[in-house]
């Protein structure tokens, strides 16, 4: 009887966690979609940082090639 009671409590805990996990990920996915739509509507790149880093790399090594000094 005790074992049964414990296992049903465990099942309830696991069930609650599964619910929390799904709820969280569905919220965050929805938020990410909204964000992607807003970025697109504003004509902004999908990743705000990728372009900046590319620009910096190009500045450090013009033409995207390492400069070799002989």
């Amino acid at each position: 009887e005790d074992a049964e009671r414990i296992s049903s409590a465990d099942v309830a805990v696991v069930e609650a966690r599964r619910h929390l996990l799904n709820e969280w990920y569905s919220w965050h996915e929805q938020m990410q979609e909204e964000l992607a739509d807003e970025r697109a509507a504003l004509g902004l790149p999908a990743d705000p940082i990728a372009e900046l880093l590319e620009a910096k790399t190009a500045e450090v090594a013009p033409g995207g090639e390492e400069q070799v000094i002989e």
Partner: protein
């Protein structure tokens, strides 16, 4: 998980920031200089000298070209990361308690202290992420906090909102362009100061820490409190880990009596909670005083804490940390893997 101890400060730490790649750490303390460190081995890259007072805050732009700092000497300063060169100084009537770059590094906000004759404000500066550029003197926006001073603030996704945490325990959402106040919501206990505000990677939600011994996970869009983490001590800092769904809280009661056992034995702890389930999952002790600042490595490999004891402790997570999963998390990962995601 043996930590690396960084001893470059002689006074209490105030803030730690990782750069975007997670290879560098910037730390500020009450001892008037900023330190930059290599995260993987704790070697010091350099120091930044010039402030004439305690330094409360530091941030680094997303390309790790410049850092900004705010100090009790009533200035915000901009520095070149690589050389330590001071690029610009902005003067204010009071101390600067918090600075933060927006997501592309083109704007910087500063939180100024309230003092006799001066209300607390949030100022915004335009920034050129270029060490050779002339920076503008002009403040493009000033938000005056006439209800309760802001203690911390940051930029949401798209720089759409400025979110502030206040001395009275409330959180505000302002328009990022006009400074108009949309919401002010009491999320922590009344008059229990908000001590920290840190973002997730896409800046759609953030975590607060408060003297009311709790930390909250809040949506930037509508300020909905989604999660609450309860500790047994006043909190000074909170951070969200990447890769794993955890949060790390730092705090502790300042030891009035220096012979207190906890202070002598380095028992001040960083607390790990599961971000989604709100359950505490572990503690890491080591500091000899309260933790003033915690920061998660943006690549998910580790975290760092800065204490009232003047030390920075850098931790690299071990295999056990990455392997740890709740049954339902494993179930979800297996399901995603099966779907080829």
């Amino acid at each position: 998980m043996r930590p690396i101890l960084l001893s470059g400060h002689e006074r209490a730490l105030t803030q730690i920031k990782y750069n975007r790649e997670g290879d560098l750490l910037f730390s500020t303390a009450k001892d008037q200089h900023i330190c930059a460190w290599f995260a993987h081995n704790g070697e010091r890259l350099g120091t930044y000298h010039g402030h004439q007072g305690a330094i409360w805050t530091v941030d680094v732009d997303p390309t790790t070209t410049i850092i900004a700092s705010g100090s009790a000497d009533n200035t915000i300063r901009l520095w070149e990361v690589k050389t330590g060169k001071l690029l610009k100084t902005w003067d204010f009537p009071t101390a600067v308690k918090r600075v933060e770059f927006n997501e592309d590094g083109t704007k910087l906000l500063g939180v100024t202290e309230k003092r006799m004759g001066h209300l607390g404000t949030i100022v915004v500066l335009d920034i050129k992420v270029d060490v050779n550029a002339e920076q503008s003197d002009e403040k493009v926006m000033t938000i005056v906090c006439d209800e309760s001073k802001a203690t911390v603030a940051g930029w949401s996704y798209l720089s759409k909102y400025i979110i502030a945490g206040h001395e009275d325990g409330s959180v505000s959402q302002y328009d990022g362009k006009t400074g108009d106040l949309y919401y002010n919501i009491p999320v922590h206990e009344l008059n229990q100061q908000i001590t920290d505000l840190q973002w997730n990677s896409d800046r759609t939600y953030f975590i607060t820490a408060s003297k009311d011994k709790t930390s909250k996970l809040i949506s930037a869009k509508d300020l909905e409190v989604m999660k609450t983490y309860s500790a047994d001590t006043p909190l000074n800092s909170a951070t969200i880990t990447r890769k794993k769904d955890f949060v790390i809280l730092g705090g502790g009661q300042a030891a009035m009596d220096v012979t207190t056992t906890s202070a002598r034995q380095g028992k001040f702890e960083a607390r790990f909670y599961h971000k989604i389930f709100e359950e505490e999952i572990g503690r890491v002790r080591g500091h000899f005083g309260p933790l003033n600042t915690v920061a998660a490595d943006p690549t998910g490999k580790g975290y760092a804490s800065g204490g009232e004891d003047g030390y920075v402790r850098v931790h690299h997570f071990d295999k056990g940390y990455f392997d740890f999963e709740y049954e339902v998390e494993r179930e979800r990962h297996n399901k995603l893997a099966a779907e080829g995601r």
